[in-house]
Symmetry: C2
Subunit: 362 residues, 2 copies
């Protein structure tokens, strides 16, 4: 598995006439070598692959990676420089979207005679198509997320504080087997729902409000990402109407997905629907994004994205309508592209659901 992935990197190497490619981003390190630590580097040349680890991660690298020569370093940039000098590298590609300018500058200083070439697109698309094992990990992450969310949902009532719900959900997710969460859980109720990234606050949820909950989980390195919007009590006509518009936009986009479509076309299906319903100004963000070892990766599903959709790609579909002062609705599922369509990987139903406040007795 790792061999095939490294072979793909070697193709880039040859095509770009490089001696070696330096990999520093954690998702690509994990994808190409299996290493799950939080710091390291891979140097892949035409024949060999070197994994560079510091003393904290040396034994972990030995255990997790296969097929690489493992070298220990004290300072990463110095370690890379030393190794490349020893191997006589002249043209080195690097991950331009990961290396800071400062590290680039330091590396160039130490390797004055080496041509450093920035790469991004070629590597961004490396992980876009998932294999069966990867899809299974994502499914497992989504399963943990669904289980925990449904448990949490039963406890939500008017008076619940957003932040407490986020803390409880995180606790359930971790106990349920999730690794590090992909992002701070969003719980945005009432007018706060108009903030697409409304991190859970001290606000109490009130009867009659909508509550946007965006949460993710992690299994064997792979993330899940999902958003539910709940209704507290009896919905107003406007709440119902906006929910149904977002839900229809979501469904139509999912129905449209199949290999050969462009990402921008998928985005357009949902965006046009929302526009025609009169809410174009309420939907500002992209329709979706790839998910895997990173929470945001290729393919981006946006108006500008010309990416051609392929079987095995995994991404979110998450239209929303946000109205300042009123609130918001977002509905998000993750799908995997199949031979002739797609399959939804997330498990929580997105039908409109009203959490009626419990009737007080006496």
């Amino acid at each position: 598995m790792f061999k095939n992935r490294v072979a793909k990197v070697r193709e880039v190497l040859k095509k770009k006439k490089l001696d070696c490619l330096l990999i520093t981003s954690l998702p690509n390190l994990r994808y190409l070598s299996g290493f799950s630590g939080s710091s390291g580097a891979l140097l892949i040349n035409r024949d060999d692959g070197y994994f560079l680890a510091d003393s904290r991660y040396y034994s972990q690298a030995r255990k997790e990676t296969k097929g690489f020569i493992i070298r220990e370093y004290r300072k990463i940039i110095e370690g890379i420089a030393e190794l490349s000098r020893a191997a006589g590298m002249k043209r080195m590609g690097f991950e331009a979207g990961d290396l800071t300018y400062k590290d680039y500058q330091k590396l160039q200083e130490l390797l004055a005679k080496v041509k450093l070439l920035p790469f991004s697109k070629e590597l961004d698309s490396l992980r876009a198509v998932k294999d069966r094992d990867e899809i299974n990990s994502i499914k497992n992450a989504a399963r943990i997320a669904a289980q925990c969310f449904l448990e949490l949902k039963d406890t939500i009532q008017p008076g619940s504080r957003e932040r407490n719900l986020a803390i409880e959900l995180e606790y359930k997710l971790k106990k349920g087997g999730s690794g590090e969460l992909p992002f701070d859980i969003i719980v945005a109720s009432g007018p706060r729902g108009a903030l697409p990234h409304g991190v859970a606050s001290e606000k109490k949820i009130r009867n009659g409000e909508m509550v946007v909950i965006d949460y993710g989980s992690r299994y064997k390195g792979y993330f899940s990402d999902e958003t539910c919007t709940l209704l507290m009590g009896i919905p107003t006509r406007k709440q119902k109407n906006i929910y149904q518009i977002v839900k229809a936009a979501h469904d139509k986009a999912i129905d449209f997905i199949r290999p050969g479509k462009r990402a921008s076309q998928i985005d357009k299906v949902a965006r046009e629907y929302i526009r025609q319903a009169g809410y174009s100004r309420g939907f500002g963000h992209a329709l979706g994004h790839g998910v895997g070892l990173a929470i945001h990766e290729e393919p981006l599903i946006s108006p500008d994205s010309s990416t051609l959709i392929e079987e095995g790609m995994v991404f979110t579909i998450e239209p929303g309508i946000y109205l300042e002062g009123w609130g918001g609705v977002r509905i998000e599922d993750m799908i995997v592209v199949t031979r002739d369509g797609c399959k939804v990987l997330t498990q929580v139903s997105k039908e409109m659901e009203c959490c009626s406040p419990p009737v007080l007795k006496g």
Copy 2:
């Protein structure tokens, strides 16, 4: 407060003959403007300051920041470029340790006639000396951490799983008022204690083992960082001996701290003590690091660091001895430098403590 901080940035600006300085790192954004979101940029020129926010953060930026002209952008690099062009900037400094090479490249492409100058040291030291409010926030973070750790400690016994302890501690911290934790809590028992960054695993703690627990908290943006090493049951002579060596190294370093010393001298006090005790190979990392809005910031307390210690600096003192196959001991406190010494900010006692397993009845 923010005014004085921005004034310091303007001094750098003048000294380096720049038209403006671009700030993109989250800790510096927060330090200079109060903005607590996860994306944005500041452009500070000689007379004005601009805060750039995307649609997600526009209203938050308006609420949190003061004294800046707020501009909304769709894509951050494009937004910065447009603003600098409109303001006629010719020489722009940027945070070299934060901007990726890719963003730098894009910015330079859009601003072909602007000279972009990388900055790091001048900005790294900006936050090193803390004011009273900052120290209070750090104290509060340390207070939450101590309270939660002591609660957790009472529950630890042979058979406890490392990962479960980490999950429980995180849950307590969040419920106790901590924001996002600075790092995954480390719980490393027995031989795993030899990994300075041994993230909590599925391993069960056994009687007779030592357990390294490294945890942090966050209050109003400011982090705390602390490590305790517990003994399960009756310690062996070697365990006692190594613990006492690390503890003495820790105490001696703290006694030595005062304004005017160099960071490297403080490191040396602890390192020499450990070396003379015969364990120099067991202590590989730096003695400490600054903590504030970032979990690692200036001053670094290492053999190479020539930083001059000043009143108001806050940093960790965390010597350790790690022996492969045997385990490890690390003892970490945070201190603030006072006029004639230092004060410990963390609250958990670092005296050797044996968690005796409960005596079984019957």
